[in-house]
Symmetry: C2
Subunit: 228 residues, 2 copies
Amino acid sequence: MFKPCDCEHCDFRDVVFSTLDDESIRELCQFKEEHSFRKGEIINHEGEKITDFKYLKHGLVKLFRRSPNGDEQIITITRPFEFVSNMSIFSGDRYQYSVAALEDSTVCSVKLEFIKNLFLKNGGFAIGLLTKISKINDKIINQTLDIRQKNLIGRVAFVLLYFTKEIFNSRVFDLPVSRKEIADYIGMSTANVIRTMSDFKKEGIIKVFGKTIEVADIEKLEIISKRG
Amino acid sequence: MFKPCDCEHCDFRDVVFSTLDDESIRELCQFKEEHSFRKGEIINHEGEKITDFKYLKHGLVKLFRRSPNGDEQIITITRPFEFVSNMSIFSGDRYQYSVAALEDSTVCSVKLEFIKNLFLKNGGFAIGLLTKISKINDKIINQTLDIRQKNLIGRVAFVLLYFTKEIFNSRVFDLPVSRKEIADYIGMSTANVIRTMSDFKKEGIIKVFGKTIEVADIEKLEIISKRG
DNA sequence: CGCGGCTTTGATGTTCATCAAGTAAAGTGG
DNA sequence: CCACTTTACTTGATGAACATCAAAGCCGCG
């Protein structure tokens, strides 16, 4: 699973490693591993011991946990650069949440110890990483609160807009999740998610071809999401 | 609003400043200010510019935001040492959330620049603070997900248990929030929060004397909260 | 080609918000 | 300190929103 050392030109360098000089980057490169995950595979498992600092280089993942009742709750769905490892890496020694690949993904991982040593040597790096993690957390909390305050159709509209604008940046896309996963994301029943999407389809707001979705009337979707 | 310099023996020192030597602590002490807030006063206001790193030394606060529709959403209610400033201080230059005192509270504040300089000088401090912030965020996210997955009576039971166990550590306490605030916290209507509490009262699970609550049957409350 | 999982739709009942109207409590100004 | 005003609390009745259940269609995969 190793790859030639190309960290110096990695896109991720600008995201959290911008304060590292070339020497540190080369050192990082020796310690890092790159792993590929197929769609559906688990990247981190809730409860497992944390040994590495991981970041998504390519792909799409969902962050989720199992609720006390055993059903899945999706915390967020995210692309590279928005997602730095699993937040819980600094709060305890075990993962609080699971991460799974929704599309084929590649993940870079570095021993957590190495990152902590960088902290000691390079305060600028520490500030950068703290900023990044804070932003991600704020985004998750805001998203959760936004969803909570909407009704069913508002929530479905929100998810469709999220895929359109944040994830795919396109009005046509292949849904990377099942209907049930959407339900787990927005805290609704699967049947009602499907029903609402059928309604949107009947009203001409979206077009559905199997897993492929086309957002036909994005303005109306925005209105529904806001008013929801 | 200044106080004599006693930072060396402050309880908070163990929480995030444990890695600072006495000299840094004395320096911190010169820069810090201590402010008192009466019950009901706003400590931080959503949207305001962030200049200070603040931590709650004494009291009880709520962290909240105004939803797009204008109604209040309470993110969490917390005591000192669990709450380090407002999380958003590192993610942007303006507060994402407001903080208000639920009881008379005292807050210490230090210029954010001073903290950032400490980061550069002291990596251990950086790790410590990052750990603390991560834990707080994880707690908030977990709490939010826990609440989401419960029904009305489960949520009310959860809040009562939260006050009993986490906030007051006592089965008898004065509710520091209005019924409406509980509703804003758990995402329910005020009328139904009141109704549910009346039901608990009728069933002998709690006793209510004005603002004072006594949890009479904590086991039953636990069961309701879990099953909810 | 048949089995199992995901999806769809309808029917039904529960849960919960909303509205309304009344009561208690807490400020407020004279 | 009392009358007045306002805000918080309470309860019931009603309807809307949503979950659940059930049955059937679809699709991929062995």
